[in-house]
Symmetry: C2
Amino acid sequence: MREFAWIGKAGELFGARHPGVPVGIGDDCAVLDGAGPTLISIDTVVEGVHLDRRVMSPADMGWRALAVALSDLAACGADPRRPISALLSLQWPDDLPDAALDELAIGVRDCALAHGCAIVGGDTVSTPGPLALTVTVVGATARPVLRRGARAGEAVVVTGPFGAAAIGLAALRAGLDGEAARRCGEAYRRPRARLADGAALAPLATAMIDVSDGLLQDLGHLCEAGGVGADVDLDRVPLDDATRETAARLGLDAVDAAAGAGDDYQLLATVDPHDLPELRRALPDATVIGLMRAGAGVAATRRGKPYEPPRRGYEHGKTV
Amino acid sequence: MREFAWIGKAGELFGARHPGVPVGIGDDCAVLDGAGPTLISIDTVVEGVHLDRRVMSPADMGWRALAVALSDLAACGADPRRPISALLSLQWPDDLPDAALDELAIGVRDCALAHGCAIVGGDTVSTPGPLALTVTVVGATARPVLRRGARAGEAVVVTGPFGAAAIGLAALRAGLDGEAARRCGEAYRRPRARLADGAALAPLATAMIDVSDGLLQDLGHLCEAGGVGADVDLDRVPLDDATRETAARLGLDAVDAAAGAGDDYQLLATVDPHDLPELRRALPDATVIGLMRAGAGVAATRRGKPYEPPRRGYEHGKTV
């Protein structure tokens, strides 16, 4: 497909007018109305590294690329009442059919609609290599929540259940059927950025991150940024029934998946204990899984014993 | 090289504090102080498509990726007194040595310094494919200049000379020696975004674009966006002596290169004739090469005769 043809297609799919976006797709730059601190982040997904054609449709790939990028806005407490926008750079392999590109763009569009996000620009290039998508997201907030800021004595808080995406990927690869397996697979193929949860946490969180590399590894990032340590009780980490059931059918340990695997894009934050009652009103699903302490590093326990995960997370470039 | 090692390196190279950037590299998002319209654009370059390892060093590749992206800010009239920032997403092939990545990052850093740009974030992933760099740039201006807006009777204005980069690439591929060839090669390997020129043009331009695909093709984009046509006299298009000399040595036509080839990243704008005296004061190097007219399409003449270029420009995906 030619570049200009795709730009025309993108204009149809992404050309809706959005408040706060006077100029969207089609010019040298998009123009956003700025006021106060702007959040901006970039993320790339590559087929064969982050995207697996055997278990994901082109639409899934488009959805996932955008959702993963939006998750960084959630992690900084982007205000959902302020414009959220994205730019998409697509590298398409010469042998990819046009229909696949159309499907991919529809996946991006659906994800944008689900998250209230405007697609304001893009770039398309052919590549002799694999399909890759780079997404830049822009949001705004009066008070960004950073990775640094956690203090000893604060509660370690997480949103929603963990492990579903990792178990879902295993289920997709195994071709497992049934509703529970399907729901886990959906968690992997179509993750949601927790924008509403991030905004609810933002006024109370002293530090926040989205869990993309794995719960323990990303908690390690908060510890390092804040110069503190953390104790967590893995028995408190929320798991949903579909994850438990599917893990059992696969002979996998759901707690290992929850502790070590990323891809759930839940949020992890630290909150002063005095603010926990207010947090429970703002975000009833939030769960306290541990406490920050002086020192460094993450110490996890399971059934009262020290826990050493089989896999602490996923570092790009180390494993493919 | 591991992702976290590269993040540390990036922090060293790009960690300087910049006004207007309260949070740069290292968190989930960068935080920019926003006020008024924000310009944002994304561009990807891929080795084997836009980057040629035989004629460019890794540092050249890094420079070029950033400069090409910044050129879109120039094309919208970004205000150089307002913060200009960039995010870089790097896809590195597994077999690329660490030293090449370091050099590439230094090329990005040098280009950022030369343009007064803060590098505020990034992402690195390994890829089984070719080296690719996606750059998102952010700037600001009170009055963005768009591609649409040209009217019949307005002057077609260009900055600086054309053709140097295309002739330079041919010289690099031919291994041509000498100062003139070296200067043309430099125009290709290390283009400059015309941020100062864009800011000088912005108060007077009714439409503006940066010439990346080719002068006639990009002028066609202004015509299409404005619903007008254009007549240009190619004898008026500025060419520098090094380009003429090197083209002659290679047996190439410098005017063909100036008309049809991109990569110079000069600016092309339309200006009301009444504003030309003021433009000449603000930007003495600006050259009028034609007039916008009613109708559609670009009609070019050379030595008084209709000109049909051998190559109207470069469309990604059509040629590799």
